[in-house]
Amino acid sequence: MNPAGGATLFGIAGAVLVGLGVYGLIVSGQPLRKLLALNVIGTGAFLLFGTVARRGAAAGLAADPVPQALVITGIVVAFAATALAAAIMLRLARVAGSADLDDAPADEATGSDVGGRRE
């Protein structure tokens, strides 16, 4: 398998990961699951960058360093966004009694939880 051909396979796997994540993002009702799905989309997109980097191998470097550096920055930023989202989710659970995103009226969907609000 030549480097470019191998890299293309990695890219297609990345595309499938993004697709899986998009599906999860739409169908899951729980914010935490949506957050996981978003992270799967992120890794898929990063692997697409990795494909481009690997294809750009030249001048004795095994992969183009610029997409790699972008991905490293991206991973850190994705982590920061995930941390903020998780904190918002916990805050929502504390204030509303549940972090569910159901459209149904709160008293019907979560019943007694609303009475248990802390603040």
């Binding site: 890219g11 595309a15 009702g29 992270n39 001048a59 095994a62 991973i75 920061a80 659970a93």
Partner: protein, 315 residues
């Protein structure tokens, strides 16, 4: 099919299978655990792509820290919701169908873009390699992060600080100056405390090594800082140390320090040199190390505080 190809294809299938489990699992906690495994498998993919710096980052941050963060969140949400009602009602078949169509469309579009990538591939690798001697570094990825595209890295530091501010803004009125997260309770004679006492010194050393070696080999400030942050978190979880209150001035100085040093260097470049963040070639290595040291300390503290969460206890 050679053995290497076999490993390639097998690992690709495994990554996709674990990702599918993460998305489709009924139990949220199981999905988060699968996500941690997924992150580690993805970092192996990065090794296969010969991007070892990215592999280290993905393993440490994408899998490790994100895993701790989400496991904690999942446990706290479950505690609140109670067993049994943790999974939201399943959505309608129509929604599933629409979601599947959208997902397949996105995948096919991206796959087509990958297949249609130009050949030979455009690359700036020769430029990056040619300028390496000027930076005094041997690792082109580190050079890209700290020198060629330093503005990206600077702005990323700012994003980290902003995320932390957002996290802190969610605190309740009476504890917003206090300590993040819940009080950790661990048996001081237990396995966790023992493990933390043994591992933390070694781990901090490894973190510093990964940071230092990043100049010429895979590694660097982010990866090293993440390992140090993980060690700090381990000590906190084992009850060996408590997170300092967020109102402490020295903590805030550490958290802002990385971006401030970076900004100062950038402005100095503007005043003395050619451009914002321009380093004089003669002193490039020294300046880069100064930035990296400040960055490592700040990133380690910021990541630890991001995982520790919103202040919930009085100082």
């Amino acid at each position: 099919m050679s053995a290497a190809d076999f490993v390639d294809v097998g690992l690709a299938a495994l990554v996709l299978a674990v990702a599918a489990f993460t998305i489709l699992a009924r139990n949220t906690y199981a999905a988060v655990v699968a996500f941690v495994a997924y992150g580690l498998l993805v970092s192996l993919r990065w090794v296969q792509l010969r991007a070892v710096d990215v592999a280290l980052t993905e393993a440490a941050i994408g899998s490790g820290l994100t895993g701790v963060l989400l496991l904690t969140a999942a446990a706290r949400l479950r505690e609140r919701a109670g067993e049994g009602e943790e999974d939201a009602r399943p959505c309608s078949p129509t929604t599933r169908l629409v979601a599947a169509v959208v997902a397949i469309t996105v995948t096919v579009g991206l796959a087509a873009a990958v297949i249609g990538l130009p050949d030979p591939a455009p690359t700036v690798a020769p430029l990056a390699a040619a300028a390496l001697p000027d930076t005094g570094l041997g690792n082109a990825v580190t050079a890209t992060l700290i020198a060629y595209r330093a503005t990206d890295t600077l702005l990323e530091k700012v994003v980290l600080v902003l995320a932390l501010l957002g996290l802190w803004s969610l605190a309740a009125e009476d504890v917003w100056r206090g300590r993040p997260g819940l009080k950790q309770r661990a048996d001081p004679d237990g396995v966790l405390a023992y493990f933390a006492r043994r591992l933390v010194p070694v781990g901090v050393l490894i973190g510093l090594y990964v940071f230092w070696v990043g100049a010429d080999h895979p590694g660097g400030a982010f990866q090293g800082a993440t390992i140090v942050a993980a060690m700090w978190l381990l000590a906190m979880m084992a009850g060996l140390a408590d997170t300092p209150p967020v109102a402490e001035r020295r903590i805030r100085l550490v958290l802002a320090g990385g971006a401030l040093v970076f900004f100062a260097v950038g402005l100095a470049g503007l005043a003395l040199g050619d451009a914002f963040l321009a380093y004089p070639v003669a002193h490039a290595k020294a300046i880069i190390i100064a930035i990296e040291v400040a960055m490592t300390v700040t990133v380690a503290a910021t990541l630890a505080y991001l995982v520790a969460g919103t202040p919930e206890r009085p100082a």
